[in-house]
Every structure is written in structure tokens, then in C-alpha cells.
Amino acid sequence: MFSVLFSLFPTKCQSKLTLLGTETLPESDAKLSLLMMRVKALTAEYNLWQKRSPEIISTNPDVLVALGKEELQKVKNDLEMVLSTVQSKNKKLREDLKREQQWHDEQLQIVDVLSGIEEEMKNQVVQFSEKRILVLIFTSENMWGILHFPVVLYFFLRSNSSCSVHILNLMLLVFQILINKLMSTPHEPYLTISDSFWPPYIELLLRYGIALRHPEDPNRIRLEAFHQ
């Protein structure tokens, strides 16, 4: 705007402006002084626009129609370009969103798996502590078993708690059962044994003559009658 005026009145304005010199914005309150300047400049421009009145390009209707068509064509092209840009941007954003969603789901799955593993670890820890308690209980009551049969201890610690209870119980139980059988039912002292009776112990009983095999059936043993 000003440059247009400029070219119309070169000497007068130019000499005035050259004499103005530089004025820079003050350090403090730069914004305020700048805004004041803008207000002045904008009001000046506004006044200029007020004074102008639109000039008619031509009175010939054909010329006007052709010009109008050209303008509208330009606007249409610009808008089409904007539309295609925005559409492609939207598409890209949708794809990005889908990708991020997939990644997020994967991460959630990972979190689930990891929390599952964490649970398992927790359980193992609990089991381990249970085992410790059981060991304590059984060693206090059944020192005999562990002391004399270190293999039992090894077996005990290797397997899980429920199985080991079984083993230790059976070991003593066998002896108890044999005694009971002999005492309570002298006519029927034979006990049918199976593989769950911890074979090494049975072996030991047989070898030392504490228990005897049934002459016909190798799966039955009885306690040797020491008291008779």
C-alpha cells in the first residue's frame, strides 16, 4: 500500500522519510510501543480504504462474464487442490491411528503375558516356602528317616511337597502297617506292596531279614516275627 503511494509521489514522501532516521523499539515495553504503532498504521490504512471506491472494470457484460468465469475457475482449482490435500492428510492420519492402535494392543498383550509370568513366579515362591515349612515339620518328627536315608531327603527336596509327604509317610507307614498286621491279625500278616511303597526301603527290609517275602507271591511281605 505504502509502496504504491510511494511510486506516485517519489520526491516529496521519499525526502520526508529519509529525514526520519531510524528508531528502534525500546527494550522495556517493546510490545506496547509496537502495538501503538500498529494501531496507528492500521487506522491509516483503514481510512485509506474508506476513501476508495471500487472502480468498474468495464460496462461490457460479455467482458464481465468472461472475467467472472475466469475468477471462479481459479477459485475452483484452488479449492480442489485444498480438498485433495486435506483428504490425503486424513488418510495418512487414519493409517497412523490404525498402526498406533495395533502397537497399543500388542503392548497390552505383552503386559498380560508378563503379569501372568509374574503370578507364576509368585506361586513358585509360595510353593518353595511351603516346602520349607514341610521340611521343618517332617525333620522334627521324622529325623530318623532323613538322617538314615539322605537319599530320602534328596528325593523329598526334588519333588514337590505333596509327593514327598507321601513318600515319607509311606516309608514309616510300611513299617507301622507291617507291625500292625502282625500284631492284629497274626493269621494274616502279609501286606501287598506296590511300587508306591518306595522300593529301596522294601529292599532294605527284605535284605536285613526284617521283612520276609511271601513264598508264592513276590508282591506280599510280612514282618519277621521277632517276638516268637
Binding site: 500500500m1 505504502f2 511510486s7 521519499q14 531510524t22 523499539l25 509496537l34 504503532m37 492500521l42 490504512e45
Partner: protein, 179 residues
């Protein structure tokens, strides 16, 4: 030391001059080349400077500056300080739409040294538009060159009906989402 004044000299016919001020000379060169490659209907001269004020020896050879673009590299605090120091030497009437801030290097989010607040403060105090760009990407470099060229055209007064001031206000209002 010569001061740059917006209307201190007569304009040349159908031409415009752009002044790029910034500490990263490589980026300035890149941008200048990109602008010169663009199709344009007027003569354009681009002046590069690392800081203001400009040395006075060649003042009579310089044309009238139509647009000053301050380049701030988001990776270097020094470039921001440099720009802030140079701003003090700019004639006040330049800020009526003939100044813009160009923030470069926004592609590398990991290396930001300059806070966005500092850039917004500049924008608020000097009431000038801020353009963000990443000059290392060819497409964005070309787009930024086109934008600057358009701004230059308006600031030089080649577009009838649109003045630098009104265009600057328009740009500011359209990007003003922050409080």
C-alpha cells in the same frame, strides 16, 4: 553501522529483496537456493547475514529490504540469542508486517534446545508470524521457499490490495490458538 529502514530507499521496479538473518550459514544458503529455484514473476535478491546491524561499507549498494526473516535453529540456543541481539537493531517500522521468524530443524524432536515458550514470546512481543520448517527435507524446504516468496511478494507491494501489515495480522490471527 548502517540501520536497515523499510522506506529508507526507493524501490526498484518489479523487484524485491529478502534479508535472511541467522547463525547457521549452511541452512541460509540452502534456503536461498530453494527460493531462487522457484518460479517467480519479479526479480529477487537475497541477502544473507549472520547478525545485525549490517556493516555500513556496502550500504549504498544494497537495495531496499522488503522482508527480514530471522532464522532460529531449534537445536542451538546460540541462534536464539543471536536473533534476540539482532532484533534490537531493527527499525521499529519493520515490525509492521515485514519481519517473520523462521524456526528450522523441527524435524528432530530429540535435539530441541530452544523452548517453544521462547519462540512464542518473540512472536508475541514483536507481533510477527512464525514459520516452522525442516530444511533438510526437500519437500518442506520447497514449501517454505514458496511461502517466503509469497510473503516477499506481498511485503514488496506487488499484490494490489494486500498490504504487509494486513497480511501479517491475517497470518497471526489464523495461527493464534494459544492463549
Amino acid at each position: 553501522m548502517a540501520a536497515v529502514r523499510p522506506f529508507g530507499k526507493l524501490p526498484a521496479l518489479n523487484s524485491a529483496a529478502l534479508l535472511l538473518v541467522g547463525s547457521d550459514e549452511g541452512a541460509q544458503q540452502q534456503l536461498a537456493e530453494a527460493i531462487l529455484k522457484e518460479k517467480k514473476s519479479f526479480k529477487i535478491s537475497i541477502h544473507l547475514a549472520t547478525s545485525l546491524p549490517l556493516p555500513s561499507e556496502r550500504d549504498h549498494l544494497r537495495p531496499r529490504i522488503d522482508l527480514i526473516a530471522f532464522m532460529i535453529d531449534i537445536k542451538s540456543k546460540y541462534s536464539l540469542k543471536n536473533v534476540e541481539a539482532s532484533l534490537a537493531h531493527v527499525d521499529a517500522s519493520f515490525f509492521l508486517g515485514k519481519v517473520c521468524f523462521l524456526v528450522t530443524g523441527v524435524g528432530r524432536v530429540n535435539y530441541c534446545s530452544v523452548e517453544t515458550n521462547a519462540v512464542w514470546k518473540l512472536r508475541d512481543v514483536y507481533c510477527s508470524p512464525v514459520l516452522y520448517c525442516e530444511l533438510e527435507l526437500e519437500g518442506i524446504r520447497v514449501a517454505t521457499a514458496q511461502r517466503l516468496l509469497r510473503m516477499l511478494q506481498i511485503c514488496a507491494g506487488h499484490v494490489p490490495g494486500v498490504s504487509a501489515l494486513s497480511f501479517g495480522s491475517l497470518m497471526r490471527n489464523s495461527e493464534d490458538e494459544q492463549p
